[in-house]
Every structure is written in C-alpha cells, then in structure tokens.
Symmetry: C2
Amino acid sequence: MRLAELSERSGVSIATIKYYLREGLLAPGRQVNATTAEYDEDHLRRLRLVRAMIQVGRVPVATVREVLGHVDDDSLGRTIRLGAALWALPQVPEPDTEDEYLQAARREVDRLLETLGWSNARALITISPAYRSLVVAVATFRRLGYDWDAGLLVSYARLMHQAAALDLDFVETHPSEAEKVEAAVLGAILVEPMLQSLHRLAQEEESARRYGFE
Amino acid sequence: MRLAELSERSGVSIATIKYYLREGLLAPGRQVNATTAEYDEDHLRRLRLVRAMIQVGRVPVATVREVLGHVDDDSLGRTIRLGAALWALPQVPEPDTEDEYLQAARREVDRLLETLGWSNARALITISPAYRSLVVAVATFRRLGYDWDAGLLVSYARLMHQAAALDLDFVETHPSEAEKVEAAVLGAILVEPMLQSLHRLAQEEESARRYGFE
DNA sequence: CTCCTTGGTAAGTGCCACTATCCAAGCACC
DNA sequence: GGTGCTTGGATAGTGGCACTTACCAAGGAG
C-alpha cells in the first residue's frame, strides 16, 4: 500500500506519518521509484503500536524510538530485552535534591523488597527506573506528612505482583519471541492505563458502596 | 513566613510560586503592606500538594486548579466530591473517531461491570472519564489484534478493587472531612504512580524468576 | 538617604508533537 | 505528448504548556 492508504487504514494523518518516518519510529517503505514507496501490513501494525504508545501510553517520541530499538534487538535475552524496553519507558522525573525524605524512602523500599522476597530485586531492581520512581513516590507521601503503615505498601506490592503474573501468562500465549516482547511492552504501556482506569472505577464503586451519595 | 521562606521550605522557586499564585493554584498570602505578604503552614502544605500533583502525577496546571476547586468545595457529599475531584484528573484523550472497535470495547466493559456486580457503575460510572479511558484502552488492544480472554480483565478489575479498598481504608484513618478528600485525591494521584512502579518491578522480578537472565 | 529586598506583572523561553508549505518527479487521462 | 493531480521528501512554522526573565514601584534596614 502507499502512504495515503497507510494513513487511511491507521487513522494517522499523512503529515504525522512522515514525521514518524523522519524520527525513525517507522521503517521507510520499499522504494518503488522516485515518487512511490510501498508499505505493508508490518508497517501498519508498527504504526498502530507507535500510536498506542504515544496516545494511550503518553510515551515521548524519543522514548518510543528507544523502546522499539530494544524490541527489535534480537541479540538480547528475554528478561534483559524486556527490562531494556521497560527501563526506557518514562516515569517520574529524577529528583533534583537528595534530602532526608528520599533517603528514608529508599530504606523503606529496600525493606519492602526484602519482606517480599524479591531477591532478584536486590541485584537488578535497585538500579531500575521503576525503583527510583517508587522511592520518589514514597518520599513525596512522607514529605506531605502522610504516615501510613508499611504493611500497606506490601499489600499493594502483592496485588501488583499478581497483576504481573497475569501479564506474563498472557505474554506466554504468544508463540514467537518477537511477539512476546511486543506483547510485553504493550503489557506495560497499555495494561497500565487500563489498571489505572479500573482503579478509579473501583474507587468510585467502593466509595458509593461505603458512603452512598451522601 | 514570606515568599522567600515559602520557596526555600518547599523547594519551589519564587518565580514558580508567583506563577502558581497567578494561576490560582495557591491562595494569596495575608497582605501585610504593599510589599509584604505573609504565608502560613497551610500555604506550604497546599504548595507541596500542587507540586506532587504536577510533578509526580503529571497533572496539567489547569486541571490542578479544577481538582482543588472540588477539594475545597464543602457543599458536596463525599462520594460526589471525590468523584468530582477524580473526574477532573486527566486520562486518555477522547477518541476522535467512533469505530467498531470502540463500540465492541464498550460492550465488553459493560459486560465486565455486570460480571463484577459493580451496580453503582451502571448509573454513574458509565459517564465517568475512567470508563471512557478503559474503553479506549480495550479498543486499542483489540485494534492491535490482541485477543485475550474476558476473564483476564475481570481478574485485573478484582485486583484493583482490592487496591481501592486499601485506599479507602487509608482515607478512613483521617479524622477531618477536608483531610479525607485531600487524602483521596492523593490516593489517586500518588498511589497510581506507586502502583505503576510496583507493577514494573513485579514484572521484572517475575520475569527473572520464570526465565532467569537467558 | 541609599541600597537591597519584596511582591506583582508582562513578556519571553524551551520543549515537543505535530502541521503547513514547497518542491521536483511520476502517472493517468485525454 | 501534454497537462494536471498525486506522491514522497525536506524545511520551517505552529500551538500549547510550564515555567523564567526582566522589570517595576514600594518598603525597610542601616
């Protein structure tokens, strides 16, 4: 198919597709002649993935490029490849100042990992961006004066561990390795907004259940 | 305290605080004379909340203003007030086109709510932004050709319902109504990045556990 | 009295995801 | 074989947003 058809079938404007091509988010089509390039189903699929990441996942363009680079890198093992792809995803920005709250939060998270028995964590996870993000979130809570029970964090972690197990079970259902990695990235990118939506719906439901509409 | 101290204690630059004052995210200080205004602990607390929403929660400034308006609105009941605050929070943008995937996703989500017995949902939730976001996420998955079991969604929903119950238990521990609402907003704003971080950490852990570092 | 600081305002900056405009080279139809 | 529309490609511009800089008049301190 040509650019116009790719645009129509994906619902992405031609100008935007050109932009993605320029930014290296999409491989160039097979050049037929000086004024025609041919695109195929793979391009369409990749374009939809890019769109999903940018629109639903709110992933910056530069990050999408990085993530896709890892997804396409056949030389990596699965855990590393998945990790590489996930690590590239944006989360909370790096804190500018190193204060007491941050240090306390780090100790708290370390204790959490120990309690959970996430042993792989100690070696690998402590350099993961997700670890940093978690520390920042905990520190922010503390800074605002909230003082919850450490058990709450453990409970949340157990829940998310169950969710992660569901994710990976789903990933398992895909035969090829490339599809697995793509599914895993989507699991991070799309499942998260889904979980977030479900979380808020559940809050509304539970709030109405407990308090009615008083 | 004066602006300079407010800035120092919050870690937010004076220029930025002035910007927030202008944007109505922060109440003006008590004007002592033409060149001096006095701020108190409430200002500091509110400023930190604003910062948390913007930096950790990535909430746009205009939305923060809206959410705070609801938080401060004493005339509303709790569920409504919480709902109003949560509904103002940004999620996935409104889809531009109404296609078959979207309609199918809507039916699927409706079925999900029925299965879960979230009866309050049917009346209220279907107009909630979270409902829309969920529909968009499901539709996006389908559009990409992923075809999971409906039971997976139910499992995720049950997990998030448990998380929501934990949130509300935590909110319950706060005595005053104003604090409860603020805690609830934070529960949405800060717990979500925390859950997200935990989700990714859990994925890394579980992936390493299943596959090692092959 | 002089100089520094304060709060307030208006205009500017940097980033980012597009988007509008051009352009030369086909291709399609007469 | 001409003519006009379409195509892919490049460059520059746009709009939104979260700040930030520059400036101002009015205090207050020494």
